[in-house]
């Protein structure tokens, strides 16, 4: 007999539903059939693997009056409108690129700082080049004759002044970036809060549907009790 004719018995054995006759029939076949022994083992293993998928616990029903959910919806809509206006005024841009939305918060952004940085870098390079040229001149002069003391002091003072000036600019830039970052973080926080509120309002909407269904069910109950 081929293995296929024992398949139903094998499934009954696998799920513990085999009666004495089908159990004996399959056991007799299994004793002499390696593939069926292997298959039963593999199906047992598979059942243990399938048990790894747990369904989530049923959520407890939330009883919320429909009016409250409408109030929540209205509040969330108001908040979204206000935030939308604020984001619009602040020049926030939303873009759809590469299959997803991206938001750019704030009007100025880092793009406006870029020209300033470029100009600063250009000035620094010019100053460094000037310093290098003067150092070369003084090196040439020092090889022939000792330079006058007041020239060294003046050069040192000039270098110190340049360093101080550069540090001041760096600090100003850092402060400006920090301020901008703070503003961006604040706007982002407000945007996130609005999204959370919108999420709550969606959930409340779902609850409203549930309430409507429960009300319908209650209607049936009332009708039935009135009939009785």
């Amino acid at each position: 007999m081929d293995c296929e004719s024992f398949r139903e018995d094998m499934l009954s054995v696998l799920y513990g539903e085999a009666d004495a006759a089908s159990c004996a029939r399959f056991e007799a076949h299994r004793a002499s059939c390696g593939p069926c022994r292997e298959e039963l083992g593999a199906l047992n293993d598979l059942r243990r693997t399938l048990a790894a998928w747990k369904a989530p616990e049923r959520a407890a029903p939330v009883a919320a009056p429909a009016r409250a959910s409408l109030r929540g919806l209205a509040a969330a809509a108001g908040l979204l409108l206000a935030l939308g206006g604020a984001l619009g005024l602040s020049g926030t841009q939303f873009q759809y690129t590469r299959g997803g939305f991206s938001a750019r918060i704030g009007r100025s952004g880092l793009q406006d700082v870029q020209p300033l940085l470029t100009a600063l870098e250009r000035r620094h390079r010019q100053e460094i080049a000037g310093l290098e040229a003067r150092l070369q001149v003084s090196a040439v002069a020092s090889s022939s004759a000792p330079p006058p003391a007041h020239d060294d002091a003046a050069l040192l003072a000039r270098v110190e002044a340049l360093i101080r000036e550069s540090e001041g600019r760096q600090a100003a830039l850092r402060n400006a970036s920090l301020r901008e970052l703070g503003e961006q973080a604040e706007t982002q926080r407000r945007y996130d809060l609005a999204r959370i509120s919108a999420g709550f309002s969606y959930l409340e909407g779902k609850t409203g549907q549930q309430v409507a269904r429960t009300t319908e069910l209650m209607g049936y109950v009332l009708q039935a009790s009135q009939k009785r």
Partner: protein, 198 residues
């Protein structure tokens, strides 16, 4: 001793509306589980579970008791799931959050198993869910009712309106497909299954 489903149905049909409440409390978890495994989305599961009991309430007065109450309830459930799946196909709907919900929902936040174990279990849960979701609908129904709902072959046959031999054929094909799909993902045998959570 708790009354049987059939006794509760009798009581309801005699006018005891509280009997329906007992039936709902007895079956809501099972129905919720079956719907979740058929649809894979928690939102839809809540809707369909509720709709199932609403329909049962409407029709229980005229229920003829030719089949078990549980089989009848599963029939309603599966019909609603099939409708939903059909509508989903029409809208070309894809549930993206379902697997994350499934994998995350059953894990307690308390300490115990290592983070590695949790990740491994979550991955395995996702793989199994994806494999079951990929089955043809008629095989998935049998797998859900037999494997996850624990119905007997006769009960599955009754719920689906099929002969038990057809149920066994679909089950066998479904199990084989699942095995192939899981093996393709490198999941073989019980070695890949971590110990159950405490």
């Amino acid at each position: 001793m708790a009354p049987s489903d059939e006794e509760l149905v009798d009581a309801f049909q005699r006018g005891d509306l509280c009997a329906f409440d007992v039936l709902v409390r007895r079956w809501e978890r099972k129905i919720h589980g079956a719907v979740y495994r058929m649809l894979g989305s928690e939102d839809e599961t809540r809707d369909i579970s509720q709709e199932t009991f609403l329909r049962a309430y409407r029709a229980l007065g005229t229920f003829k008791k030719e089949a078990r109450f549980s089989s009848w309830l599963y029939q309603i459930t599966l019909n609603l799931c099939r409708d939903r799946l059909r509508r989903r196909k029409l809208r070309n709907h894809v549930s993206l959050d379902a697997l994350d919900e499934a994998a995350g929902a059953s894990f307690p936040p308390a300490a115990g198993p290592s983070a590695f174990d949790l990740l491994e279990r979550r991955d395995l849960s996702r793989s199994v869910a994806a494999a079951v979701e990929a089955l043809p609908e008629e095989q998935r129904e049998v797998i859900v009712l037999k494997e996850y709902q624990g119905l007997t072959f006769l009960e599955v046959a009754e719920a689906l309106g099929l002969p038990p031999s057809t149920v066994k054929t679909r089950l066998y094909r479904g199990l084989r497909l699942l095995r192939q799909q899981l093996e393709r993902q490198g999941i073989r045998g019980p070695a890949a299954v971590p110990e159950p959570l405490p």
